[in-house]
């Protein structure tokens, strides 16, 4: 049901620019006003969220340790520097691997139950499918986003040209097919199917999980459509894009409506981003279990709101148990406490 709602919702989102531009001729609205508004909301929402997180302190250092700690004797025991970092450098390496290689997800296993002749068995098998398709999806998305810079920058930076060359190196069809265009769809479809097929994952999936998948799929498919099938006027689009970034917005005539569908879906994505789980992108950098070294035993770390709480005073302990302690031969700080209250 959640998947269906999301799908229908994205369909409606596609219809809006189709009617708005196709029938209503609101080219300026969809080409300029909506993208500007969406970008402003994206930027302000994104920054506000990060500031909101950063405002809350990290009172305690709680890194998850995935290996041997910094030992007292490095000859005898070998520290797992990446999984149990003890300084900033190791922590940065850990974060880089986490962010660029999805290292924790690479560890993923699947658990299954088996009844064998020797009794029940709980089995764990490496399960890297989620890692693989998540990597495919994210890297494709990242490269596609970078490729789009050629529309917004003049001259086009060398790395964008390089990226574009590499991405189309197979030279299939005309215009040349980008591999990432295919891979992002494959990645998205896997992530979608996984949510639908695996009963456990389906059970936890909300509209908020399906919607971004369908939305990004809509963005990708509309992009593919306009490039390979509608064969939109790229020169005109670049003119529009350059107008947007130089704050001289103007809409050239003759851009296919599929472009407006693409831009509208991207705008929705931008507005939706800061209020959704998509914020895992900046959030992973702030995750307190991953971005801190495990150095609490040898570096002081301050809690800004450390409450003023004292232990139960030893004096009152000795007062309560003094007579028993004296009888048992335990030393007392105050000999008076050896007497039972009624004696004193």
């Amino acid at each position: 049901m959640n998947a269906l709602y999301s799908l229908v919702f994205v369909f409606i989102l596609v219809l809006i620019p189709l009617f708005g531009v196709g029938a209503g001729h609101m080219d300026f609205g969809f080409g300029v006003c909506i993208p500007y508004t969406a970008f402003a909301l994206f930027l302000s929402g994104f920054v506000a969220k990060i500031f909101g997180w950063a405002k809350s302190p990290v009172p305690y250092r709680i890194p998850t340790t995935g290996g041997q700690q910094l030992p007292y004797d490095p000859e005898l025991f070998k520290q797992s520097k990446l999984d149990n970092p003890s300084n900033g450098f190791q922590t940065v390496l850990r974060m880089i691997l986490e962010i660029f290689a999805f290292r924790s997800l690479f560890r993923n296993t699947s658990t299954s139950l088996h009844e064998t002749k020797d009794g029940p068995v709980v089995a764990y098998a490496s399960s890297k499918w989620l890692w693989l398709f998540a990597i495919l999806f994210h890297y494709s998305f990242f490269i596609i986003a970078l490729r789009h810079l050629r529309l917004f920058l003049e001259p086009i930076p060398f790395f964008v040209n390089g990226l574009e060359f590499m991405d189309g190196i197979l030279q299939i069809g005309a215009p040349v097919m980008y591999q990432t265009d295919a891979l992002i769809v494959v990645g998205l479809l896997f992530l979608l199917l996984r949510r639908l097929v695996d009963a456990k994952i389906r059970y936890i999936s909300l509209v908020a999980d399906f919607f971004p998948l369908f939305l990004i799929l809509g963005v990708a498919l509309s992009g593919i459509w306009m490039r390979y099938y509608a064969k939109v006027d790229v020169v005109a689009i670049k003119e529009l894009a350059m107008g947007l970034v130089t704050l001289h917005p103007h809409v050239p005539a003759g851009i296919d409506v599929s472009f407006y569908v693409h831009v509208f879906l991207v705008s929705v994505l931008m507005v939706y981003f800061p209020i959704s789980k998509l914020m895992h992108m900046p959030g992973v950098f702030l995750s307190p279990t991953r971005n801190m070294p495990n150095d609490n035993r040898f570096h002081h770390h301050e809690n800004p709101w450390n409450p003023d709480i004292k232990p139960l005073a030893y004096e009152s302990y000795e007062k309560e148990f003094g007579p028993f302690m004296a009888e048992a031969g335990l030393p007392l700080d105050n000999p008076e406490n050896a007497k039972a209250p009624e004696e004193g």
Binding site: G67, D73, P120, L130, N296, H299, Y317, E327
Partner: protein, 552 residues
């Protein structure tokens, strides 16, 4: 309550979630699904010290409809939630960034053993996250159900009680989360909120109030504590012919030794405690123990950060009073989590200026890795002694054991203490084998009784949660003949024996220093014919075998 057999229980596990959505699926409040609430006087006692952290003392039962919550309970919980979002970035970030990828879903021992979808860490956290979205986010307020939001109701609070007391805060899910979302952290926050309105369990609050009052979670008073220790000294004398010293509350020693009181109270922990005493006697160590700080474990960790701080502070307070330079800590799971992650931050300022970076007086090794906490783990200490050849060991005295090692969750995943205990075990035993990869070291499985859940009334839940550990144990039992599982946690020593009896009958449980005590050759000792459990050593079985009950 009748317990299903291990096979029946295993067959009953179904990973297919129910047909109804999780928000619509009611919680089962039958007895056996919840821990008993705290006794009224326990809450009242704690309220006297920390009035804001613990709710109204009262008689109530989770099985009844009316939990006798304060009339403004919703306001208290919501204000507490907001306050914690502002005080803990972890909570705020973890509420926002989960993508529900499900990588954590089958990592939780309670899920693996029960199949209850609300035991998937992602869904456990969603129980709280749905409220966060509904009450604190704009999108959640507007779109409500589409974003998986809901508002705080009494049913939600009751659901929290069940499921946040079905999380042992073992952190295994965090290891697998691509964003490091730590359900233990979320559970801790949820429990803080539950405590605000007096929704609690006795197996956490009674230990907390006992630790505050008597110094240890069992409520052993100082004279009784001394009696128990003296009994163990007697037992050691019977086994070895050597009378070891057991200094208590003495001033002017270099080292303060603190271990979980579970090791003083019940077997098999007491054998571990005897191992410590023998080791210290062998070394003629300049140390003392304390009755005032006679608990290593910190049950405050399972309530709120206030109680955790209060209980932990005793360690430094006592080191100051007795004039000790540093603290040696015994085998305890969450004690080490508190020491490693919280102690210096919470209470470092209480350290007296006489305290020094720990230095092993026998080998001269300086423990730079504990320079600020001034606390060394006993397996680090013993490993150092072994490396320098300072111990006289006869590992063959442990030859009747085929030993495996259970990485206790907290030292493993909140600290990374993995190789030190293994090094010690391998030097005091001839037969050591690890359980399969994926169930040990940082991927270790919980005993299912951590975080104050080692209580009898939820035994079936514990045994279900114990399936992954028990099954891995069964594997090395069948394959390698393992008959002893060692560990470095007193809660493990309390909870693993029933778990092993159920899932891998025939395997016993011990602490690492029990094995050390068995192997250690004390100067002037008599010929040893029995181990610390007073069971015959190999080659000395005859007398026992000839003995028949007199009336047969």
């Amino acid at each position: 309550m009748s317990m299903p057999s291990a096979d029946e229980l295993f067959k009953s596990i179904d990973y297919n979630p129910p047909a109804s959505g999780w928000m619509e699926t009611p919680v089962n409040f039958a007895p056996g699904n919840w821990c008993y609430p705290a006794k009224k006087d326990m809450v009242a006692y704690l309220q006297g010290y920390m009035p804001d952290a613990f709710g109204n003392p009262r008689e109530w039962s989770p099985g009844e409809a009316d939990w006798k919550l304060p009339p403004n309970w919703k306001e208290i919980v919501m204000n507490g939630f907001r306050e914690r979002l502002d005080k803990f970035r972890s909570l705020k970030v973890f509420m926002d960034i989960c993508v529900r990828c499900g990588a954590c879903a089958d990592k939780c021992h309670f899920f693996i053993g029960s199949g209850d979808p609300k035991n998937m860490p992602v869904l456990r956290a969603e129980l709280m996250r749905s409220i966060y979205r509904g009450e604190f986010t704009l999108a959640g307020k507007i779109l409500s159900k589409l974003t998986g939001s809901r508002v705080m109701e009494e049913d939600v609070l009751k659901e929290w009680f069940i499921y946040f007391y079905q999380c042992t805060e073992c952190r295994r899910c965090s290891l697998f989360c691509p964003y490091g979302i730590d359900t233990a952290e979320i559970t801790m926050m949820a429990r803080e909120l539950l405590h605000l309105v007096g929704v609690n369990i006795n197996w956490v609050l009674e230990p907390v109030s006992n630790c505050n009052r008597t110094g240890n979670h069992l409520g052993i008073q100082p004279h009784a504590f001394k009696d128990i220790v003296d009994f163990m000294v007697d037992d050691i004398e019977e086994i070895t012919g050597v009378r070891v010293k057991a200094p208590l509350n003495e001033k002017g020693h270099e080292i303060l030794f603190i271990t979980p009181s579970g090791d003083v109270f019940a077997d098999p922990g007491i054998y571990t405690f005897m191992g410590y005493l023998m080791l210290f006697h062998f070394l003629d160590l300049d140390y003392t123990m304390s009755t005032y700080a006679s608990e290593g474990g910190n049950f405050g960790l399972f309530t709120n950060n206030e109680a955790m701080k209060k209980l932990n502070a005793k360690m430094y307070a006592e080191a100051n009073r007795l004039g000790c330079k540093w603290i040696l800590g015994g085998e305890c799971g969450h004690m080490w989590r508190v020491i490693n992650q919280y102690m210096d931050t919470m209470n470092g300022y209480l350290q007296g200026s006489h305290m020094e970076t720990p230095r092993n007086p026998i080998t001269g090794t300086v423990f730079h890795n504990s320079a600020v906490t001034k606390m060394v783990h006993i397996t680090e200490f013993t490993a150092d002694l072994i490396k320098h050849g300072k111990l006289n060991l006869d590992p063959s005295r442990n030859d009747q054991y085929k030993v495996t090692f259970h990485d206790s969750c907290n030292p493993a995943r909140a600290m990374g203490l993995l190789d030190e205990p293994r090094y010690v075990i391998k030097n005091v035993c001839n037969n050591f084998v690890d359980m399969p990869a994926g169930t040990i070291r940082e991927e270790t499985f919980c005993c299912a009784g951590g975080s104050g859940l080692n209580t009898e009334e939820i035994m079936e839940i514990r045994l279900r949660g114990g399936l992954p550990r028990g099954n891995a144990l069964r594997y090395v039992q069948d394959k390698n003949g393992v008959n002893m599982m060692s560990c470095i946690c007193a809660i493990d020593r309390a909870t693993l024996p029933p778990l092993a009896d159920y899932w891998a009958p025939g395997v016993e449980v011990c602490g690492v220093h029990e094995l050390v005590g068995n192997a250690l050759i004390l100067p002037g000792e008599q010929e040893r014919t029995m181990n610390l459990r007073q069971e015959s050593l190999p080659g000395f079985e005859d007398e026992d075998d000839d003995w028949t009950p007199p009336n047969m």
